[in-house]
Symmetry: C2
């Protein structure tokens, strides 16, 4: 079975390592700058913790660098074993790994939080590699844990990462705005939880533009004016309301 070393001890390193190990891969070692977290993760994997990146076992076939984007190049340059090296960034190219002949990308398109189990089976894994032999290794590894493996170019992966920011980070911020509006008026965020789940469900079988509802897509200017009036003392939220409504109107004008 494939022998994998994990660099990093954050959420991606942890979730990915667990999924790979459950699928039968052998985790040869864990290294991370944060010794305490690295040790904890190595213990979780029942594997070796190394205090120096030069001590990664030489029989490691794939080293996965799951650290912050800005640290990837530096970590890559410290790795001296000969196997394949891959990072997990959604946005960086393979040039950060230029030192290694067999280099690639292993990007899981999902939000990975500590303490929240993820079914990796449905997590899209976007791969890229420096040559045929390397992409074969990455694909074989990815298919151990996910049914949604695809090879994409850098620009496509970056676009997928950008789209993920809109549908995850930005969406979550709109939930936060909604919560703030409710709390300011003594109402509980619980009121919105079923709606939020239903909204995410509604686009599982139809495209979002097809299920768009609300005053903007209806052209209901009376309701929009009432909402803007309710937001008159909150410049930031009023700007968000106006810009998103304008974008909805624009999108549906283009379709007609």
């Amino acid at each position: 079975m494939i022998k994998i070393a994990i660099i990093g001890a954050g959420n991606v390193a942890s979730h990915l390592g667990i999924a790979l190990q459950h699928a039968g891969a052998e985790i040869t070692a864990v290294y991370a700058r944060d010794e305490r977290k690295a040790k904890a993760l190595a213990t979780k994997f029942h594997t070796l913790w190394v205090d120096d990146i030069d001590k990664l076992p030489a029989n490691t076939q794939l080293t996965i660098i799951a650290v912050k984007d800005e640290a990837i190049a530096e970590v890559s340059n410290q790795i001296n074993i000969s196997g394949t090296v891959a990072h997990t960034s959604g946005i960086l190219g393979m040039d950060a790994l230029a030192k290694h002949k067999h280099r690639g990308v292993f990007y899981p398109l999902q939000t990975l939080k500590s303490g929240v189990d993820v079914n990796f089976n449905t997590v899209p894994l976007l791969l890229e590699a420096s040559n045929e032999e390397t992409i074969r290794l990455l694909k074989k590894t990815a298919k151990l844990i996910s049914q949604k493996v695809s090879e994409v170019k850098l620009h496509e992966r970056q676009m997928a990462h950008l789209a993920a920011v809109f549908s995850n980070n930005f969406t979550n911020h709109l939930y936060a705005v909604a919560n703030d509006i409710l709390q300011t008026h003594g109402l509980s965020f619980d009121l919105l939880k079923p709606l939020i789940v239903q909204t995410a469900q509604n686009i599982q079988h139809q495209l979002p533009a097809e299920v768009q509802t609300g005053p903007a897509v209806r052209g209901d200017m009376e309701t929009i004016d009432m909402h803007l009036q309710l937001l008159r003392e909150h410049v930031q939220y009023r700007q968000l309301y106006e810009l998103i409504s304008a974008s909805i109107i624009e999108q549906h004008r283009n379709k007609k």
Copy 2:
């Protein structure tokens, strides 16, 4: 058991009527401007279809006006039976029902689509009424179908409606933007579906601001700059990206 007439034949009328009937309420009649849809709904309820609002059965205790906001006052003025009259708007006051002594609001805070079953048990119902007797009737009726019944003032209900627009309509538009970004680059929206579901799940037990992730909350200007560069040819999306990112940064600056 309570006797209820339904005015309107859209999604709210249909879902609400079905839930009430399943819970044991008697639907006395259906009336709607669109005769074809009204007849279909009456058939679904195995109840009376009336072609004139004056033919609503006199023994009706509660008439629910589930029509578009702009038509509520006109419909209300045409009703001549003596029971309670309630509308289902998230934003209009009871003054639209001024003709009736026993008037109120029965607002389901959920997105109701035809063909998509909704478990009303978890749908928040926000109530308001003109007097004690009427609120008792509305509460008793609401509790037949939902465990989340609350009496709220007009301003609170309007704020809940506004918050729903942010977390439902606006969120869905962000999904649409993400889909557009993917499609433009030959990628499938399927890539984002697990992420979108997980994002909605993450706020079921924690507040959204506590689980905010992404470049804006990290202050990762390098990634933000790369994303803006990717959006250089799409002014609308770039504006959305900039404004929402600024709002995330602002919100988390306030918390520190």
